[in-house]
Symmetry: D2
């Protein structure tokens, strides 16, 4: 697609320091003749960022063009937590660990582009996945005229061999284990690790144990359950076992607990936004616990009308995030509705962690809507008259009775 | 409410044979002077029905007025399975085990009322719960002018002492352990056991182990996982480990598997239709497995558009069943949509059962929509051109870019 | 229902000054022995409030217990306008003129009850309608332990004759034309007039012309169309034909325009919350114009994602207001989402009023999202590449092609 | 995009006989060297099809390759009527006249492609509109591997001058009035006429009168209203003024009535699927009447639960049709739900047509759910006890009271 190639002067690359984005870095320099600005974020993926700086320098990036930032708190506070207020699960199960990180990276790239006067941004996502969409919708929503470079859709390095050759030709250091095709590809941040491809591509075959990296095999998890309490304030988790923690520290702690007890594994065939089904493996140890906990505190403090509306809106909300529409007005509208509901989602839940499961075993709140006197079998001094139920049923039944009479008159039932 | 008391000649009572419904039986005879017809159903609750007949006779019900029916196959085939096609979970978690049984009982009572010329039906549900609503909406939807008697809303036997006195005065046999207040109340059928009340009423306290009756404690479940395959045809499970089974037999088998591995326990604070929160404990061993399995086969065979629409409709569908609107037109409309989607939901899933969890580990289908060639990283002969993604993103981004330009012009972002 | 009668000391009555609420006033004094506090609001119903004060005094209400308030601005600003931001129409057509007034009246009654130490509130709505529900849900949502008196559900004045007799016995003045049964009953406020009952009860018969009071017969409306401009700011109308107007003044002006041109009549069979169908006639001259205008300015300034989400949420939102759940959390959540969308709904629309119709003929906005360059047939310098459409279509088609291939393999299509 | 040009042997062209599709025909022959098969459909656009045959022959299409079909009955019966069962309106207003015709044309082209062994299909829709999407999603859904040619996205005839030159060079007859740029472009079928472009592109300017072709100006419509009855069976219109009519004949008759009275004009700024806003003018005289009529008969015969569910699903359903997803599973699921609801939508409505408006004035049905006795003010022998309302309200209020108590305890309200 030579004809569509843009004239680029300066480009901000989402740079991990790994082989693939190093190749992209070099390719941008050689193909586009562009000055490359690297952006490397700590989102809790569990890798040190120091080497990324060294490697960028080695590849000729000017020191002032190397941006490295620890985004863990911002990530959890402004992206993960708002999403968990919605109990968001894509296709009923996926906790959106990759999807939720992309908008933040996109936003930071755009900020750096503005700061450095760059006219383009670049990401390392492939041409068949969702991430290219998420990155680019983010870019365009924030900077509508930015040029976007997606090397995997543009270049002719379409085989592993071609990539390695390019790397060798350009003096890019190659770790031994990166020469061959990886048995699967991985994305990681503080919320989750995901894997897909190669050994995972047959959905009839169980995921091999070596694919998992962030959780113990439940069979090898402790034989004794562990109890934990989580405190919430206005919909967000704020403390574990009575210890106040910042958002990122709290999620880190939950990840440790989840890892130990083998919680949060998911083997999923999902529907990509680009139109195909794929099979992925996800590990979201802390997130899986957090979901159970949040649902638990909501069950006590959220009104039925609010809770049911949230449940009905959730699939749409999750789909929007999955598809990359974090910065779209309809996501913001749904967020406004969801946030409105969380005012009293404050209190404490208790969970039991054991062999792959996080089970809610107790919840309490100063804002509880549960009224023991009301629910107790005896009719008491409370605001409930058994006879009210008759009227309630009668009027709810009225339209059904009218329907039944029509059926009796000649329609069928 | 004496003034509203109806003139009743014959009444069909949903009769379990237990103490409470025996008291109701006698109360109907003495208070209303009505001829009582008993209906006792085997819904898989796990009790023998023989004693119910004997007891009804003892209490003066004429043999021709005693109806006992094994409804297990009809229950699973026409109620449980259609509901599982929707992956229905009330408030995200509850598998609706009690809710789904009520319409069938109501339907049978109405059929017997017609057969026997009865002018009333009667149930033993209390005045604060959902079941009264479910029974009565069912009655009215099928027979709009039937009289409904709900003793718990009408009588003055409002304490355990009063009930026992009434029983003694009327020669109703009382088992020793029924004299005192039960520590919790229970409902059971082939899909689940539920418990609520008394010892469960503090939602901060963990459910005591003795409340569970249908599942092993996960901690005492086998230390070795068990693998099982489930085959589906058009959305319904038809075989386990290659053995074809009738609906009820299949659910029974799943219950055994779930019991062994401690699967399907749920401790829930839920919102009742009558307006209060209550706390219940549910055990749905087979159902919990079935849900995972059905979601698994759908993930492979259901189109994204259909799957997402189902996810969005589900909360409403579940709410309708929970609230007792099984026979309402809107439930039937949703069912038509759901059933339409299940045409190719055929194939096999493989699950791993272990210590409280049922985990999907594989799925395959002759109608699979998963296309390994399409998803594979290399661009192949298949119908996917990486460049298509650019156009796809560009047009999806167009409105976001227009918004961003407006924001730049003076609106904020 | 003597047994349920509450002990009441002081009661705040929603008092119109008309015969029916005067009877209620007296009945409260005589039956409950309660001190009556009257509340009369000007909601734009088009009646003077002076006589209400005089009549209340005549009926023995102490001067300090007579509350009269002009609520027109608050009504339009805080109830009508927020509702119109949603384009709310119940069952596709009804502009909710009665429904939206009830919460405000309920709120004021509760405020007065608090101020005066009253322990009860009372309304004059009948036992078959929606208004009783709307009033009482409002009362309970704001003051959960308030006693509620609904005379039409309680008393034995169940015929016109009985009412008139009661009035005569209690020296309540009776206008001549109120002695007989009214040919229809009416509710009015600044947003609308509604009529129902008697002459309207056969839904096959056209509404007689004399029922209409707020609009000209379109056939008698001017033969020449009138053009009008309406300006919006953040979703609310603020000016007509360049003249800035307060909310109530603006709606008043729209009502005059609508009256002249015969706009806003509606003959509807609707579904009441209490379970029956009823037939009503509505005149909403200004509201009908406002809806067209608001949709018009939104069409230019609202993003597609926001607009479609609003359209999907609207029926639920309208249903909540119709059913009386203005003060429920789910209505507030939806309002938060809707309000979030209105930030740039600013600009001017032009309408043509003629013989019963308000037609949008033009719209413009500094925040317009319409881009003439983008939409023009020629491919220009703008951000649209025709080839993008191919990729967009291809990826949108991908799942449909996969389905078609499955169908070809053996499934049917 | 030469590199993506497909090898084509035989191509089925949607051919109108007009200048533009004649140019396409010739372009396909000359550029692709393909044998062209023409398909010309009578969808009620109001043009004779004879000339299309003559012109195709003139342009060298073999007689056996010319397909001309009258699709009017199929169009109305299988596309328009099912859509009207849903009361579908895109963005609240647009009756989807163009959108609903595309799937049928696509289907016929695919059928002819199969019959003639063609390997490609071709349409004349431009690269910025929705129709390209609708055609192509239809093609791909029915024949996943068909090649699709979209000349407007491919060729370099990007100006009127280039087109006319190409026509002249290729001996394509050119009507005098087609030499210049048309002042607007038009689509027509039995359901509607639409116009867009050029003179319509400024959304602030009123649509000039000469753009309208299918309706009288309301100001010039008869000064006397006309009454008309429409009979429905199971959701579809079957007779007008007592005369049974086939679907197409019925819609034709409604169009005549609507034309006379100036009904069904719409001036709309809408959101295209491809991401931009456009401004169009629609005339749907018969459809506008049909919508009012169908809503009217539903109001009498449809249960509230069904009606409200339909209202909530409608925007999604309309969006699917607008976006071209007629053949998608989710559209079929929604159709199944909608059709399920129409079983008793049978009866007669009466409308008044006058100066641009179709107003419902009466409705009756053997399956009416309206119960005059139930709704009448007096409490009668019917199944309604005023006291039931109290219980109904009390239980609906229960959760609101609980919320209010929480607010009083320390939360705010």
């Amino acid at each position: 697609m030579t004809s569509r190639k843009k004239e680029i002067n300066r480009v901000v690359l989402a740079y991990s320091g790994g082989l693939d984005t190093s190749i992209i870095l070099k390719w941008l320099q050689t193909t586009y003749g562009a000055e490359v600005i690297t952006f490397t974020a700590d989102l809790g993926q569990g890798e040190e960022l120091g080497p990324a700086r060294a490697k960028a320098e080695l590849l000729g990036v000017k020191p002032e063009n190397i941006f490295i930032e620890d985004l863990r708190e911002e990530f959890v506070r402004d992206y993960v937590f708002p999403m968990f207020r919605a109990n968001a699960q894509y296709e009923g199960l996926y906790l959106l660990g990759t999807s939720i990180a992309r908008p933040l990276i996109a936003k930071k790239q755009i900020e750096i582009a503005r700061k450095t006067g760059a006219d383009a941004v670049c990401h390392g996502a492939t041409g068949k996945g969702n991430d290219q969409v998420r990155f680019e919708l983010g870019y365009y929503a924030l900077e509508p005229d930015i040029a976007v470079i997606a090397p995997w859709r543009e270049w002719d390095l379409t085989s592993r061999t071609a990539l390695i050759e390019f790397a060798e030709k350009n003096q890019i250091p190659i770790q031994k284990d990166k020469r061959g095709e990886a048995p699967f590809s991985t994305d990681a941040n503080l919320l989750h690790v995901s894997s897909e491809g190669k050994v995972l591509e047959d959905p009839a075959q169980e995921v091999p144990d070596y694919v998992y990296s962030r959780t113990n095999d439940p069979e090898k998890a402790p034989d004794t359950p562990q109890y934990v309490t989580i405190d919430f304030e206005r919909g967000d988790a704020v403390a574990i076992d009575d210890e106040k923690l910042s958002p990122a520290a709290l999620l880190t702690r939950l990840n440790e607990l989840g890892r130990l007890h083998g919680i949060g594994r998911l083997d999923l065939v999902e529907n990509r936004f680009v139109g195909m089904k794929s099979r992925g493996m996800y590990e979201t140890p802390g997130g899986a616990i957090l979901l159970v906990a949040h649902r638990g505190i909501e069950s006590l403090t959220l009104d039925r009308g609010a809770a049911h509306l949230k449940d009905e809106l959730m699939p749409r909300y999750a789909e929007l995030i999955y598809n990359g529409f974090w910065f779209a007005p309809e996501r913001e509208m749904l967020q406004a509705a969801i946030d409105k509901s969380q005012e009293f989602v404050t209190g404490r839940v208790r969970l039991k962690l054991y062999k792959g499961s996080a089970t809610l075993v107790g919840r309490e709140s100063p804002y509880s809507l549960y009224d023991q006197e009301l629910v107790t079998f005896e009719e008491g001094a409370v605001a409930y008259d058994h006879r009210d139920a008759e009227g309630f049923i009668k009027l709810n039944a009225l339209r059904l009775r009218t329907l039944a009479k029509r059926a009796a008159r000649g329609g069928k039932k």
